[in-house]
Assembly symmetry: C2
Amino acid sequence: MSKQTALAVTDLSAGAVCCQPLSEQRIPAETAAVLAPAFKALGDPVRLQLMSMIASAPSGEICVCDLTPSFTLSGPTISHHLKTLRDAGLVEAERRGTWVHYRARPGLMTQLAALLAVHEPAAS
Amino acid sequence: MSKQTALAVTDLSAGAVCCQPLSEQRIPAETAAVLAPAFKALGDPVRLQLMSMIASAPSGEICVCDLTPSFTLSGPTISHHLKTLRDAGLVEAERRGTWVHYRARPGLMTQLAALLAVHEPAAS
DNA sequence: TGCCTAGGTTGACAGATTTCGAAACAGAGT
DNA sequence: ACTCTGTTTCGAAATCTGTCAACCTAGGCA
């Protein structure tokens, strides 16, 4: 099941599924179906923190061994959450030697941010 | 009942739960716990579309009677999804005569967008 | 080479949460 | 009273969360 969404997300992060703020134009059902899983992936406190730790890593990437100790959860649980973020297209993993490093994929996050951008009402 | 959940969200949308991009600074567990539910609320294709339809309504608000026909789901189901968005603090409802109108609350969405903003590597 | 240990992932499972619709309910208009 | 709009309640099916056990890969060492 996650395979399907992962594929779609890969497509969009390569391309141009959305860019218009959500408040300026109705999202087509198709687009919503593609982007909702990304929001869902961020819709868990642990995953939101993981995403933040990965994205804010000074070197651009961070070892799982540095992530796990920050939570009271077990290793497998963290691994599952990381897989969710991976399937959503928000991060990618690379094994270098003994350790696995996670890196953020800014493309999709940028799209989500653009989607949420609120058009300044009057102003101008 | 919606008052309770609305309170926490009201606090944050009034105040300073977050503002820093997720990729610039680690989100504290506390902040993650507060913001994750908002992402979770957007993490469903139907709710994402609903949010978009509400936020992009030309008059700033939209009647439930205009929302329901756009989906193949039953009335109660749409109502449930709307309640989820309400509880998350993303929209608010007002009954005017026979019909109920939904309006977006941009505050929280702005915060989420700021959180997802990706720091430009160059600049600064 | 063969064996051992450590880091992470995967699979399977119980318990909690979500999703959806049928039926019942509340508000407003006729 | 009756109708129409939308919400709430309730229950069933599906999904999600977290853990243990098993597995795989990489590295160290005799």
